[in-house]
């Protein structure tokens, strides 16, 4: 990844960061999509998809309910996809390091969204007297300001993490090469267990449904063994 390639990544991070909450919530910010797009921008959509699938499973337990503070998976997935695909040579090691950087970015992103929301609140309170006084132009102005702040938040976060991660990943990737298989196995196991537990808790407590899920799981494991 070169410094020149950081700009499109930052723009993508801004766009998917915006999609998480502000506009248009079309779920281009879901890890499976955002990481694949980042991978494609780096020339290896397949590596991005792998990182996206890992993060998608890990993201299943933190859905954006109400006003709760949750990790921001959009920019995080761009970071993960870019590292998995963008630092040559793309390898299983960069996949794990990408997922790791993505998880850390998701945590930071959750905090950055909290600050943008607080900022929006301050702007909204300040504008209230003008609005109550009959100045309706305040409404689109607040929307535009909020959207701009959210885009910049995602873009800056993505660019900063990628710039910081690049030398670390370049140094670490060859050093963990001999353990790659174990780390990838661990990543897959952690992803699978987090997704399974999240779905289990979301689903209604109906014995028949759980039996169907167990049967589907057994069938899938049989297919996985036989392939």
């Amino acid at each position: 990844m070169t410094a020149a390639s950081l700009l499109p990544m930052a723009a993508l991070g801004g766009l998917v960061g915006l999609d998480v909450v502000s506009f248009p919530q079309a779920m281009i910010s879901r890890p499976l999509v955002a990481a694949t797009l980042a991978g494609a921008l780096c020339g290896d959509a397949g590596a991005g998809l792998l990182a996206g699938a890992a993060l998608e499973m890990l993201a299943m337990e933190t859905l954006p309910f109400g006003a709760s503070r949750y990790p921001e998976w959009g920019s995080a997935s761009v970071v993960a996809g870019a590292i998995a695909a963008g630092i040559p040579p793309a390898s299983a090691g960069t996949l794990v390091l990408g997922a790791l950087a993505g998880l850390a970015t998701a945590w930071l992103g959750g905090w950055s969204m909290f600050f943008v929301r607080r900022l929006n609140g301050t702007w909204s309170l300040r504008a209230r007297p003008r609005l109550e006084g009959g100045d309706a132009r305040v409404v689109p102005a607040l929307q535009l300001r909020g959207l701009t702040a959210d885009f910049l938040r995602g873009a800056l976060l993505t660019a900063a993490v990628l710039a910081l991660a690049r030398p670390v990943v370049t140094d670490l990737a060859p050093r963990i090469a001999s353990s790659n298989w174990l780390l990838v196995f661990l990543l897959a196991a952690l992803g699978a267990s987090v997704a399974a537990s999240a779905l289990w808790r979301l689903a209604p407590v109906v014995a028949r449904v759980r039996w169907y899920a167990a049967i589907a799981c057994a069938a899938a494991i049989a297919v996985a063994v036989s392939r």
Binding site: T36, A92, W123, V139, I176, S178, A188, L199, A213
Partner: protein, 254 residues
Amino acid sequence: MSAPELPRRVRAAMFLRLLAVQGSWNYETMLGNGIAFALEPALRRLPGGPRGEAYRAAMAREARYFNSHPYTAALAVGALARLELDGEAPERIERFRAALCGPLGSIGDQLVWAGWLPFCAMLALFAFGLGATPLAAVLLFLVAYNVGHIWLCAWGLEAGWSGGLRVAAALGTPAFRSAPQRLAALALVLGGAAIPLAAKRLATVVFCPSAWWVVGFAVGAAALAALLVRSRGRVQGWLAALAVLTLATMAAAW
């Protein structure tokens, strides 16, 4: 009584603005400003137009605190547009707004975040596990998810406008009441098939394991999942994964 006509371009403008209903989301007014932003094309039709006193008062009123799910907010926007243009009393509109917040938030969260989104994610992961290309997996997820997203917003706007004060009836249909639970159940069953296949595709990037490895992997992952379920939310799986992966990577680099 049938609903009065609202021009198609006004509805289209309201629909597009609904996509940015959370554009200035904050802890003070939550979706309030976004609701006023989405309603604005309809409010221009108030007596006196956008320079009139009725328009200004309505914009100030609609920008106050409002909370709901962003997609089901379409129902509120449709209904509030109808009430404002019908000339309902401001106190009545404010009481109606306050009454809508809880039900719209709860139904939207259950239907979309706990049902539709996990279902579509599992559908895409299932395709990924079966070997789908990046383009196919991404398109499958985006198309499936946004069919539901766009439909819910468009339906909500229309049902809100038609229903006005009686919009709650639209949410009380048996299909709406049972859909969240059915979708979450479907997501679990689909996840049962998708997660092992996706995990296998991911884990076999480096080497091709024997059947014993796959079974051992499945038992280990199932045990971890059971631990997370038993923790009842006290342990956040993604944070635990961050900690475990960091330690494992540091150990490997050592």
